[in-house]
Symmetry: C2
């Protein structure tokens, strides 16, 4: 299919489907060729049963990787053709125990040649190709077991998007964004406090001029996240408080908080700080989890000028 060469890997699902279709279109003919009165779709269940043991519907479903209603239907069909018998389990009356009949066993012998020839054909085809389809399928099954395609795509998306985010130092033109982004999230969870207004309305005066820092995350040159490092003159244990971290809800899911956090910690380190403090609230689970990832640890028995702070964390920079 030329189409696939043009669309690229995006269409791998379609491609699998179409190859499967080409192959399974021949399947009924092949059964007819060998005079085996079996529908191709019966094969997986039939094959498991022909190993000799009796099985329940759900056991079969699990082994062949189908849904149980699918197996249920298949077994009813085979039962009608006299290939299997169903009987209720005496001990557990919900169970439907399926066994191959005499006729079923005869067919399973007859199918051996077909099995052998098809296998040999496929092996021959595999030998004629450079890339082993069979092994490749196995490898993909394993990869997808470890992590689904969706999860992988989510990661890729984040990776790309976080590459588009730039972290820069505060400039006067970001003053409005610094205020707005913070006001937005504070108001969704809490109420603005006096200390908030001071710092957010006058960042130069209350943060920067006192030796603090503000970093801004830009997405396509638009500020979408901010974070501040505020000098702590009142407590000699700490150099800075990490505060005023806010990310626009529109830019969520791009690891912007993480990037900002990493950048601001790097900044603290570069100016010689050795210990940081931060106050947060226990209802902000994702934020606290982020702080943990950045290297902060919980501490007990501190107070903060903010009413909303009921969780206290610190981080050593050495």
């Amino acid at each position: 299919m030329e189409f696939f060469e043009k669309t690229g890997k995006f269409a791998i699902g379609s491609r699998l489907r179409m190859l499967n279709e080409k192959i399974s279109k021949d399947a009924p003919e092949i059964y007819r060729l060998f005079n085996v009165e079996l529908q191709p779709k019966w094969f997986p269940a039939f094959h498991v049963l022909s190993q000799g043991e009796e099985k329940t519907i759900t056991q079969l479903a699990k082994e062949i990787g189908h849904s149980h209603p699918s197996v249920s239907k298949i077994i009813t069909e085979m039962s009608k053709k006299g290939l299997v018998t169903e009987k209720k389990d005496e001990e557990d009356k919900r169970r439907n125990i399926v066994t191959l009949t005499e006729k079923g066993r005869e067919i399973s012998e007859k199918i051996a040649f077909q099995y052998q020839d098809v296998n040999a054909t496929v092996e021959e085809m595999l030998a004629q190709t450079e890339n082993d389809l069979w092994k490749a399928l196995g490898e993909w099954e394993k990869l997808l077991e470890q992590k689904s395609l969706l999860e992988r795509v989510i990661e890729k998306k984040k990776e790309r998007e976080s590459k588009m985010v730039k972290i820069v130092e505060f400039k006067p033109e970001y003053k409005q964004a610094f205020r707005d982004l913070n006001v937005e999230w504070i108001n969704t969870y809490f109420k603005m406090e006096a200390a908030d207004y001071k710092a957010l309305d006058h960042p130069e005066e209350y943060i920067l001029s006192k030796g603090g820092y503000i970093m801004v995350a830009l997405l396509e040159d638009v500020p979408v996240g901010v974070c501040a490092l505020i000098r702590m003159d009142d407590d000699p244990d700490y150099d800075f408080e990490l505060a005023k971290m806010a990310v626009s809800p529109k830019a969520q899911g791009k690891s912007i908080g993480k990037l900002l956090g990493q950048a601001i910690i790097e900044k603290a380190r570069s100016v010689g700080a050795s210990k940081l403090y931060l106050g947060s609230n226990s209802i902000l689970k994702p934020a606290i989890s982020l702080y943990h990832k950045l290297g902060f640890r919980m501490i007990e028995g501190r107070t903060s000028p903010y009413v909303r702070a009921n969780v206290h964390m610190e981080m050593n920079l050495n």
Copy 2:
């Protein structure tokens, strides 16, 4: 899936289907993740249209490798969502010309990132495997284009079965089979003639004792085909007539005729014959085609003791 390791290559169809299923289960989520209001099944048609040109239903179907009713449905659905417009071709009023709308074009821009991320994800997965699934799929498509799975299996079957056929010299115990196999086919197409009875009822007397030969094809020690080499004393041009070739209808499709023919020609050669004759009838197309394959050429203007012979062939053994 452990199941596939147990069943072997026979289940390659199932395996393709299941991998496809795992992948396509994630597809709608991925579209949602990127905020693209497109159904996964629309993608192939959508992608072709987003290349810019307008297309008819059948053109689309051919390009994406679906049936036209499938495309027809997909286009109606997309049309309802305002992604495409349909309009009748003025020149050929049967044609339904499909174009992307403004909204469709917007989505096609939005999808670019999704496309890019999914592609990158798949590439990454391919890089993590030893056997390249993508290339393998391409190779299989090519192989199946050249020769379908069914054709390949038929060949394999013949190959195996012809290995089970043994060609042996005549023994008295095969006398009945020699007669029955010939009577059966002669009576289905023609009527038995006097010359037939002579040779078939008394092969020792009329064939072997005059320096002729009979070969028998055995399938699991049961005679399923016979063929004779009859001395031609009346015509100095030829050493033998190849005659009385008969294969049981139950054993058709196993190249038994070919094996018998090759064996008897080999026999003729080994006893120093240099030219063979045979007479047949023009309605026996497969037989004549077999004689051609064995090396016989048509000749004109001969007669034969058999009424049914209206085709005459010969073969040089040098």
